[in-house]
């Protein structure tokens, strides 16, 4: 099979996504007051309504409608004031009523879209950039992905097939049904077929997830199935307008699986087409373990769901006031956040994007910055707790001896932003990846990280020491200032001490001093390094630099 890169040179992949999101942050199901909870013992969150017992009627969840309106507003959709629920019929034991209550031709949210910035290596998958806005050379491109609609429906229950092969219903000895999930409010977002590479699909889903998380309407866990994504993909020769036959791809339950499943399917279809074959319209299942897609069922005939308006649910007429009220709840969205980080925090666009795209990091970043007063203040006033006398003295000393160092003595939120972002994107992220934990699960507090950033920014400790302190904060959950005190790993910034060390280094390396003076100025780094070594890594490199320059010139 050809590589994706080769295939996409000659073929254009046309990809559309269907994204199902459970509104897990709601207190109750779509049409009854049962709790929405993942992992509860089977059939403990059920009632006559979600079990479809005879005579029961659905009562729509108002908060779910608010959630989908939020989602629509955040993704540029028009909010349809007049819409209805429909019944979609099919017999399966995970559907208690044998019809799913969903929306018809008009959904609550219609005709939206998201701008996707495809940067760096991600941009490389796209061979042809027509229809996109190229960004600065080598940087990537921007492309708009249309959203057809977002509608509200109810989730089905879960089936467990016992016995037989492959855990499928065919051949199973018996099947068990858990109706806990049955009736969970579910949003289905359908994109236009605007995606052209698996990477774009992955980035779109990531961006959507960040938006939903920002709105706090779902926990968006692909692992638990609260965020599920199916892909429709077809190929056409480059330059052709006519759409090819599509396949629907399921079971892509991670961002990597979404990318890899689509990539495989594109290559599979190219193989068939290049051999003169015909792609069969069908649903295929991505098997990550064997890295292939397998046919689930043929879709040559269209399913007839006998959709008709649900007579138990009156049509909706959302008022302007309702929409405005929901709109007023819209938080700052990831794109706006990027703008703010660049404009107000002077972060690079790449760092700003990286932070904003990770809702946990972004919230942590904002919380840490919030602990720093906006105006320039003496660093020691940041502390909220009583400062030990000798530390206060040390601070005073630093200020006294290095009055010209702008990084010392006081730091503003804007000044701390960059070191904070660096800590989060590098050190904190590395820790989270290594430990496989979420930020919220660690003992790191926003004010701790702000304090650490300040300690580094004002030269109290070095970046290297900062890493060590951070590891200890994660382990002990105590403040960096206390740790620095406790461990005595403060950076030496006393000009007297620095000068003594510098003199020693220079007198021990008279030959190098001569070379330097002869014009080999690159040796400055060597002297600084020797001095740091001599102080066991505690000397302030910046001060050493200044001191050696003064002494040598």
């Amino acid at each position: 099979m050809k590589s994706l890169e080769t295939v996409l040179q000659e073929w254009e992949a046309v990809i559309g996504l269907e994204v199902h999101t459970e509104l897990t942050t709601l207190n109750s199901k779509m049409f009854c007051s049962c709790k929405v909870e993942y992992g509860a013992p089977p059939n403990t969150h059920v009632c006559p309504v979600c079990l479809g017992m005879p005579g029961t009627l659905p009562v729509p969840n108002r908060a779910a409608i608010e959630s989908i309106v939020l989602a629509g507003l955040a993704t540029g959709c028009a909010i349809e004031k007049h819409s209805m629920f429909y019944r979609k019929h099919y017999f399966y034991p995970d559907m208690a009523k044998n019809f799913q209550t969903t929306q018809g031709p008009v959904a609550f949210c219609m005709r939206g879209g998201l701008d996707l910035e495809v940067l760096g290596a991600s941009a490389g998958e796209r061979a042809h950039l027509e229809g996109t806005t190229p960004l600065a050379p080598e940087e990537g491109y921007r492309t708009r992905i249309g959203i057809t609609r977002i509608h509200l429906e109810e989730d089905a229950g879960k089936l467990v097939h016992v016995g037989g092969e492959s855990g499928r219903i065919a051949g199973a000895d018996y099947s068990l049904v858990d109706y806990n999930r049955c009736g969970t409010p579910l949003m289905e977002l359908v994109t236009e077929p605007d995606l052209r590479t698996p990477e774009e699909a992955r980035l779109f889903l990531q961006k959507l997830r960040t938006i939903y998380l920002t709105l706090a309407i779902s926990n968006c866990s692909m692992e638990q199935g609260s965020l599920r994504c199916d892909g429709n993909v077809s190929l056409r020769p480059r330059g052709s307008e006519k759409l090819g036959t599509k396949t629907e791809l399921k079971n892509m339950n991670s961002f990597k699986n979404l990318h890899d499943g689509l990539a495989f399917e594109i290559c599979r279809q190219a193989g068939i087409l290049e051999e003169g074959g015909r792609v069969i319209q069908e649903t295929r299942h991505w098997e990550p373990a064997s890295r292939r897609t397998i046919s689930m069922r043929s879709k040559e005939t269209v399913d007839d769901y006998r959709l008709f308006p649900d007579p138990d649910l009156t049509p909706y007429h959302l008022s302007d006031e309702f929409i405005a009220r929901v709109g007023a709840r819209l938080p700052e969205l990831p794109d706006a956040r990027v703008g703010r980080y660049v404009a107000e925090c002077a972060l690079s666009p790449a760092d700003a994007r990286a932070l904003a795209d990770d809702i946990d990091l972004a919230r942590f970043f904002d919380a840490a910055l919030a602990t720093v007063p906006g105006e320039t203040v003496p660093a020691d006033e940041i502390r909220t707790e009583a400062v030990p006398t000798d530390e206060a003295h040390a601070q005073a000393e630093i200020k006294g001896v290095a009055p010209d160092s702008p990084a010392m003595g006081s730091t503003t939120a804007a000044e701390l932003a960059k070191p904070l972002a660096n800590l989060l994107l590098n050190e904190v992220n590395a820790y989270l990846n290594a430990e496989q934990v979420a930020l919220a699960q660690t003992r790191l507090e926003p004010q701790h990280l702000a304090e650490l950033a300040r300690l580094i920014a004002d030269g109290t400790i070095s970046s290297k020491q900062g890493r060590e302190v951070l590891a200890l904060v994660f382990a002990k959950g105590i403040s960096p200032g206390e740790l620095v005190e406790e461990l005595g790993i403060k950076q030496v910034s006393d000009t007297g001490q620095i000068e003594t060390v510098a003199h020693t280094v220079l007198s021990n390396n008279a030959d190098k001093v001569a070379e330097y003076r002869a014009g080999k100025t690159g040796l400055l780094g060597f002297f600084v390094g020797e001095a740091i070594k001599a102080t066991g890594g505690t000397a302030n490199p910046k001060l050493l630099n200044q001191t050696f320059q003064r002494l040598l010139n």
Partner: protein, 543 residues
């Protein structure tokens, strides 16, 4: 003292209230009398009940008695304090089976109580049992019930009408003072007409549908059967109102009884009563029905109301729309009966599809399968736009027809059914059966309320004939006002002949301990031999 069936059979709600307050009998005695009466009249005679719930009834009775003993009056306890009440067996009642007259649900125990049931019980009603119906309410004769034939108490060879046949027959026979039924295309009004009792279907949404097994969700409406307008109004007052469990339910003022009283005390002078002339030439309408209808019109005029001729240009399409919308909704609503969680399940199915197919094939009766198949077809892609969609458009036109008509009239009068009760098996063609509902179906399509008022016995058949009184949507009070006023002009026995015999055998001349006519409504306590026939001939004489 005990209450004998002879005394019990013709008790009105007013009699029960007075009797309890004056300690002529207790609620427990009322419950016991109900079961004693049922024992005499039910088995191999009327066969109205699918199940009896004596434990529930006696427990409820004891509660009422305890409240009476504590000093509450019956009226303070609730509108239905001590009233033995029966429920159509598509209404969930905790502690009972709810079969819908189907093998599919033969052993189905309710997991909840319908809101209308809960409200009736909260008003002090005694739940006596569950009443027979056409399977899932599909039918007009109660013959499609999987379990038994209910007989018309006026002539045991004849059907009670349907689908709420059991509810109508039990009241006509005097086994109950009142009962609840449901009406999707006439299922309260038509059996009320056949059995000679009052049957009231309020406007769609007035009574919650929650807990009532759905047939046609946009058409179904719950309502009472009783032997007088006042009693029907009292039951309606007890069960109506907005229900958070049914988002199609409406908040309506609870003033049906007050409207009925207004009809008696203030009359209907100056009210405008609409009629549609061509209805009297409807297919299959019998001369005796036309005659009784004309008689009722003369009485209305005599009461000072103005009769105005109205046009409902699209009403002729109501049946067609009904037989599209009804089966579509029924197909969908009945999908849940799949033998997976409850209900009839075949043994020995080797896979899921087989279990679905065989269980549904054996669990459902013929008429049910006919409607499921029809709905399944009508909603399939391609067909949907030919039938379902136009049917909804027709529905809008018909609704507009009624809306316009009620700009010129306060109520509309039609016969309830073109004919009187037929013999078992006499009408076997489904389409002929559907014709017995031609006057009632358009009202469900439009969502208005309608009431059957008995207006005498047929000159030919000697069987009860009913007048349908229709009101503007959500102005069902107009209906009750006209019904009560018109009712007062008739001297008609509401109790079926055999129950009258029972009463006479025991030498009781008047129903109940209280001989007073509650609320001034003739409640059938005055027995005049051939009164109904006289009523009709007097109408004829006035012609």
């Amino acid at each position: 003292m005990t209450l004998s069936p002879a005394e019990y059979v013709s008790l009105s709600l007013g009699d029960i209230r007075t009797g309890l307050d004056r300690r002529h009998f207790s609620a427990r005695e009322l419950a016991e009398a109900a079961f004693a009466t049922i024992e005499v009249l039910e088995e191999d005679r009327v066969d109205a009940f699918l199940s009896l719930t004596p434990e529930l009834a006696l427990r409820a009775a004891d509660e009422v008695d305890a409240q009476l003993a504590a000093g509450s009056s019956a009226a303070e306890i609730g509108l239905l304090a001590g009233v033995p009440l029966g429920f159509k067996d598509n209404m969930n009642l905790l502690g009972s089976f709810t079969t819908c007259g189907s093998r599919m649900l033969e052993n189905y125990r309710s997991t909840l109580s319908a809101t209308c049931v809960s409200k009736a019980l909260a008003a002090g009603a005694l739940p006596v049992g569950k009443l027979n119906l056409d399977e899932f309410a599909f039918g007009s004769s109660t013959e499609t019930s999987a379990f038994k034939k209910t007989r018309n108490p006026w002539d045991l060879e004849r059907v009670p009408g349907g689908s709420s046949g059991g509810s109508a027959a039990a009241v006509a026979a005097g086994m109950l003072a009142a009962s609840l039924g449901s009406d999707t295309g006439g299922s309260i009004r038509q059996p009320a007409s056949f059995c000679g009792v009052v049957g009231f279907k309020p406007s769609y949404g007035v009574v919650s549908r929650s807990g009532v097994v759905a047939f046609g969700s946009s058409l179904d409406q719950v309502g009472p059967f009783a032997r007088s307008v006042a009693d029907a109004a009292a039951v309606a007052d007890a069960i109506c109102g907005y229900d958070p469990l049914d988002c199609t339910s409406q908040d309506v003022p609870r003033n049906f009884s007050a409207s009925a009283r207004a009809g008696q005390t203030e009359g209907i002078k100056g009210m405008r009563v609409g009629v549609v002339a061509e209805y009297l030439e409807a297919p299959g309408i019998t001369p005796e029905v036309v005659s009784a209808f004309k008689g009722a019109l003369r009485r209305v005029e005599n009461l000072g109301a103005t009769v105005v001729e109205l046009e409902l240009p699209n009403a002729h399409a109501a049946l067609s729309a009904y037989y599209v919308i009804g089966p579509c909704e029924a197909f969908s609503n009945l999908s849940r009966f799949d033998a997976v969680r409850y209900g009839f399940c075949v043994e020995g199915a080797t896979n899921l599809t087989e279990q679905y197919e065989q269980s549904r094939a054996q669990g459902f009766g013929l008429e049910t399968k006919r409607r499921i198949l029809l709905g399944n077809y009508l909603l399939s892609s391609g067909v949907y736009t030919t039938y379902y969609y136009p049917a909804q458009q027709v529905r809008t036109l018909i609704t507009q027809d009624y809306h316009r008509a009620f700009e010129q009239a306060d109520v509309l009068l039609t016969p309830t059914s073109p004919r009187t009760a037929f013999r078992f098996g006499e009408v076997s063609e489904p389409t002929s059966m559907h014709l017995s509902d031609i006057f009632t179906i358009p009202i469900n399509i439009a969502g208005n309320g309608g009431l059957n008022l008995p207006v005498g016995l047929g000159e030919e058949s000697g069987l009860p004939i009913g007048l349908q009184i229709i009101g503007p949507q959500f102005k069902d009070t107009n209906i009750l006002r006209v019904a009560a006023a018109l009712e007062a002009t008739y001297d008609i026995e509401r109790l079926a002949p055999q129950s009258r015999e029972l009463r006479e055998q025991h030498g009781v001349a008047h129903g109940g301990a209280s001989s007073s006519v509650s609320n001034g409504v003739p409640n059938g306590s005055t027995l005049t031999c051939g009164a109904s026939a006289d009523g009709n001939s007097s109408d004829g004489a006035a012609a």
